[in-house]
């Protein structure tokens, strides 16, 4: 059960945990990045190699997932986007089966049917979608079901700032506020919707102000720092859990890499200073300065994360490929 203290500044244990989560996510994304590009041969071919298809990695956006999901239980729901790995890991989706899905294996979360944009984990009520903003409406339904059954579960719905211009976004905010559903709406503002900057897509400078139109609190976390997200999310999750209805939180975060892998980002003028804005070294420095972590602990956390990711990737690579003879299964329940 979440108590009031969660919303306050996090203590040392929580801070270590936030760091650990961010490092695990980054290790995972780096491993996927390496394998994704390892064998796109002979010419770079999106459909070739160990991991084929589009790949949207979340490096730079770890503070959002870590800060929000620190307040969630496994029986709370998360609906994520086409860029889902950070939220999946932060919410506790099984890393082995998630990796196996990305590698298209039978042991994957969706037996290789879904792929990286379609991760479904009933154990943690996690899902994601490749269609912009379309993860918002199902989160309403999960929140509705929790409330309907008298539970105190919360649903977190995630989109990018580009998605905040989609009809589903606005319809969902209205309905959630009208029915006072236990939802936390999270907008990851990474400045870009593929090649289109926020200023060219959005009529307001800040999406949190849109909450006012639907009668719910709106918060903008301006810094891409996990503790600010943690505090804002703590309040929002608590509000939802104790019957106070939905909240909209926008975090001004950072897309450290391309929109998808293979994106040369020629449209991005600030490209040169992007690596310097990496939130993980910055958080590490502050934890070190505050005496929360020393060099040994930092390197242990990093080593453990890398080892965990390596095991997950190995599990994926050792897993069987799906049997083509079963390509038509799972279209209908009870029919396979």
């Amino acid at each position: 059960m979440t108590d009031r203290n969660d919303s306050a500044a996090p203590g040392p244990d929580v801070r270590r945990e936030l760091y650990r989560t961010m490092v695990l996510i980054r290790s995972f994304e780096e491993a996927i990045l390496a394998d994704y590009h390892a064998d796109k041969k002979p010419a770079w071919d999106i459909g070739a190699g160990l991991i084929p298809g589009e790949m949207h990695l979340s490096a730079g956006q770890e503070p959002v997932a870590a800060g929000v999901c620190a307040h969630l239980r496994a029986d709370d729901a998360v609906t994520a986007t086409h860029r889902p790995h950070h939220f999946a890991l932060a919410h506790g989706v099984d890393i082995d089966r998630m990796a196996a899905e990305i590698y298209g294996r039978e042991t994957g979360l969706g037996r290789g049917r879904g792929g990286h944009m379609h991760l479904f984990d009933p154990a943690t009520h996690f899902s994601c979608s490749g269609i912009i903003a379309e993860g918002y409406p199902p989160a309403l339904g999960q929140a509705f079901a929790f409330k309907h059954r008298g539970g105190d579960g919360v649903a977190v719905a995630v989109t990018g700032e580009g998605a905040a211009n989609q009809g589903a976004f606005h319809e969902s905010l209205n309905l959630a506020a009208l029915w006072q559903l236990p939802v936390v709406f999270v907008v990851e503002d990474n400045d870009w919707g593929i090649s289109v900057p926020r200023s060219a897509s959005t009529a307001v400078p800040d999406n949190s102000v849109r909450a006012a139109a639907y009668g719910m609190p709106g918060i903008r976390v301006e810094e891409n720092a996990v503790e600010g997200v943690y505090s804002a999310a703590g309040e929002a999750v608590e509000r939802a859990r104790f019957g106070g209805g939905p909240t909209l939180i926008e975090v001004h975060t950072l897309r450290l890499w391309g929109h998808f892998e293979g994106d040369a980002q020629g449209y991005r003028p600030e490209l040169a200073d992007v690596p310097g804005r990496d939130p993980i070294p910055a958080y590490e420095a502050s934890l070190r300065a505050d005496g929360v972590l020393d060099e040994d602990e930092i390197s242990r956390i990093r080593t453990e994360a890398a080892a965990r990711v390596e095991r997950a990737v190995q599990f994926a690579k050792d897993s069987p490929h799906p049997d083509p003879a079963q390509a038509r299964e799972y279209v209908f329940a009870g029919a396979s």
Partner: protein
Amino acid sequence: MTATLNPPSTAGATATSRRLTTAKAIVEAIGQEMETAPSVILLGEDVGAYGGIFSSTTGLLEKFGPTRVLDTPISETAFIGLATGAAVEGLRPIVELMFVDFMGVCLDQIYNHLAKIHFESGGNVSVPVVLTTAVGGGYSDGAQHSQCLWGTFAHLPGLKVVVPSNPYDAKGLMTAAIRDDNPVVYMFHKGVMGLPWMAKNRRSTGEVPAESYQVEIGRASVARRGTDVTVVTVSLSVHHALDVAEQLESDGISAEVIDLRSLVPLDRAAIRESVARTGRLVVVDEDYLSFGMSAEVIASVVEHDPRMLTRAPIRVAVPDVPIPYARELEYAVLPTRARIEAAIRGVMQG
């Protein structure tokens, strides 16, 4: 209407022709129309500086500026509806829906508005919009980014549906689509665009005349002459069917390949004319099997004269399952060369 003999490799080779990818041919057609007709505008997601996710608009922003080439928010209902309204007021918008799979978020504007206004107004209002969209799979993009769905658009009255397979047709059909007074859904398969970052068939590059020209919408082409069996198909499957037909020649099977080029209007006469000669029909469709193009093609023959078929026709399509992510599953449901070959051999024995 009768089909034109139009082998993509040599089609329209004129003094001015060069070899272009399908993507470049599309851009050239749009650019030429924008030069001659100030009413033509282009809008969609990432069509400006990025040049279109599938290179369908490269360089047009630089040439025509941001008042005629507009990056939109991710608001398909709003900007496709905007195209409809602008067309009603006399502009000729080309509007891009990045992947056809995203039609779900904006379908009302397409099928209840764009498609029906001409009819509902008793012919008094025209809506000359070209809705371009990328279709198709084969590169593990999963169930929400790999569909063809042309059968869905073809099913809804009021939309012309154009599906080019090669650079020559792509340019001529785009020119025709822009000049058409009807809404035209122009569906390009990612696999025919000749993109540098995707495996491609050699047919995705071909001769394209530099000058402007039209390919009539509603006219199929005989991509390859044959005498034993008619293979009717569209888009990337034309490439596969031609590959298979070439290979089967040495086994003494002469396959004719019909590239429909558009589903609406459907060149039923061209289908019948070919089947009347061969008596055997294989339909290859990368869209879902049931209630779609493959059944419509067969109905075109059977409703006319069932005795034209000396064998039961065979369909090669996606067997009513969402497109799977894992490569081996995806290729088990796509109309691959192996499945096309098996169908042709099957109809020859049958």
